[in-house]
Amino acid sequence: MQFLIESGDVLLEGFLATLRMLALTVLLALPLGVVLAAMRISPVPSLRWVATGFTELLRNTPLTLVFFLLVFVVPRLGVVVDFQISAVIALTLYTAPFYAEAIRSGVNSVPVGQAEAARSVGLTFSQTARFVIIPQALRSVVPPLINVTIALTKNTSVAGGFLVFELFASSRRLANSYADETIAIFLAVAACYLLVTIPLGRIADRLEKKVAVMR
């Protein structure tokens, strides 16, 4: 436990850096995901194709390669930004399609009959969307969105391998300086991640059960 007393601040700083990166990425990726989802369910085929292409491309590329592109390849092409920013961009590009897919499946989970009923009762398109579809879609969208966010939390650790200081990087640094306390360091760092992922998972589970009852 020597390391906690002497270098607890390194751990704390890493944790805060991870949380900051997480928050920034959610703020950027969620709107992008909404746009992608809107494109994928829009009546215009070309928009659907573009969004689908983007989604497929990023879904099948390892996050490591996305990071590699932004951290090592892009700067050589003359676009030099701070590594922190590159990391957030990489995570955003990678996560947005997953958010989009969660939203899309939520909207698709609303039975067509709901909209048909709303239209036949005489609601306009915007009324149908506002009062009938979106309230139901939101409910089934939130748990998957949380699950994507949990995955994102874990994915922020990849940034630590690409010259960004965050929780994983801080664990590496600590493991170097306190070689005989690696188990304690491992447990402490893992606990930091679990502190975010487990509560989020609990919320998602609870919401999921609530939704199941509603339907």
């Binding site: 009546p43 590699f68 050589r76 698709n108 664990s171």
Partner: protein
């Protein structure tokens, strides 16, 4: 096509949609042209940046690294499915002495980054990078597969187990012979989707120092001159990953559309991975990994 959101388009809407399509097409073509022109302006398509790929030795080096990536993924997949099956059965054990510790371990493995696990396996057990990556992937994905299988078992109709017990099977036998095979079948698409994630995650070996495809391409690019060949090697690697992953994803989707299964297991699958289980979405299980 009927959708929840809009009616079947009439002639006017179709015309508007066509105009929008042409506009996006032009916009996209413009953007692509700009990117290509910029890259060409940087000289990235010059022969001198690609001449390296005439050398068969470069291809052999890349091919060997791709083999390492695939090998790691295959071994870890087999282990992950085995570990997942054991976890699933143990977590449903009637005795709390088994159930509680297994649940804690599962939650622990599931909630932390694979990368962290790989790194600490590497230093705690002083293994090679190869086994650190394999074991990290196997444990992490084993926990996730275990959770999926467990919810598959829970979602089965109660009568299945009761019928088994009524026939005189012991509780464990009923679990293994009646419930587990059904759950496994229902969860196969989820498991395969998770294995695609596992394959993608094997590239994390790059950070731990394993000579897999991503690291090898970097080593080669550095060796021949990163400023000259960095981009070319990256493009080749990206294409290699896309080919392998798209093939696997396609296979996962096919499997998902072919697997029969009651509503209950599907629903559980959705809960386990947190995604809708309709066939087009099965790929989203990928959100679970890096």
């Amino acid at each position: 096509m009927t959708s929840v959101l809009y009616d079947v388009p009439g002639p006017k809407a179709r015309r508007r949609s066509l105009i929008a399509s042409i506009a996006t097409g032009l916009l996209l073509a413009g953007a692509l042209a700009w990117v290509v022109a910029t890259l060409a302006g940087e000289g990235l398509f010059d022969a001198e940046r690609w001449d390296i790929f005439q050398d068969p030795l470069v291809w052999t080096a890349l091919g060997n690294a791709l083999l390492v990536t695939l090998q790691v993924a295959v071994i870890a997949s087999v282990l992950a499915v085995i570990i997942g099956s054991v976890f699933a059965v143990l977590r449903l054990s009637a005795s709390a002495v088994v159930r509680v510790p297994v649940t804690v371990v599962l939650e622990f493995f599931r909630g932390m980054p694979v990368l962290l696990m790989m790194f600490f396996i590497l230093i705690l057990f002083a293994t090679s990078q190869y086994w650190a990556v394999v074991m990290g992937l196997a444990l992490y994905n084993g926990a996730i597969i275990g959770e999926a299988l467990r919810s598959g078992i829970v979602a089965l109709p109660k009568g299945q187990r009761e019928a088994g017990l009524a026939l005189g099977l012991s509780p464990l036998k009923a679990r293994l012979l009646i419930e587990f095979p059904q759950a496994f079948r229902a969860m196969t698409p989820i498991i395969v989707a998770q294995l695609v994630v596992l394959l993608k995650d094997s590239s994390l070996g790059y950070i731990v120092g394993l000579e897999e495809l991503v690291r090898r391409q970097r080593t080669l690019a550095e060796f021949y001159g990163f400023s000259q060949y960095g981009f070319s090697f990256f493009v080749i690697t990206l294409i290699a990953f896309l080919i392998v992953n798209l093939t696997l994803s396609w296979f996962a989707r096919r499997l998902a559309s072919r697997t029969p299964g009651g509503r209950a297991p599907r629903r559980a699958a959705r809960a386990a991975i947190g995604e809708s289980a309709d066939t087009t979405v099965i790929r989203t299980a990928g959100a679970g990994g890096a």
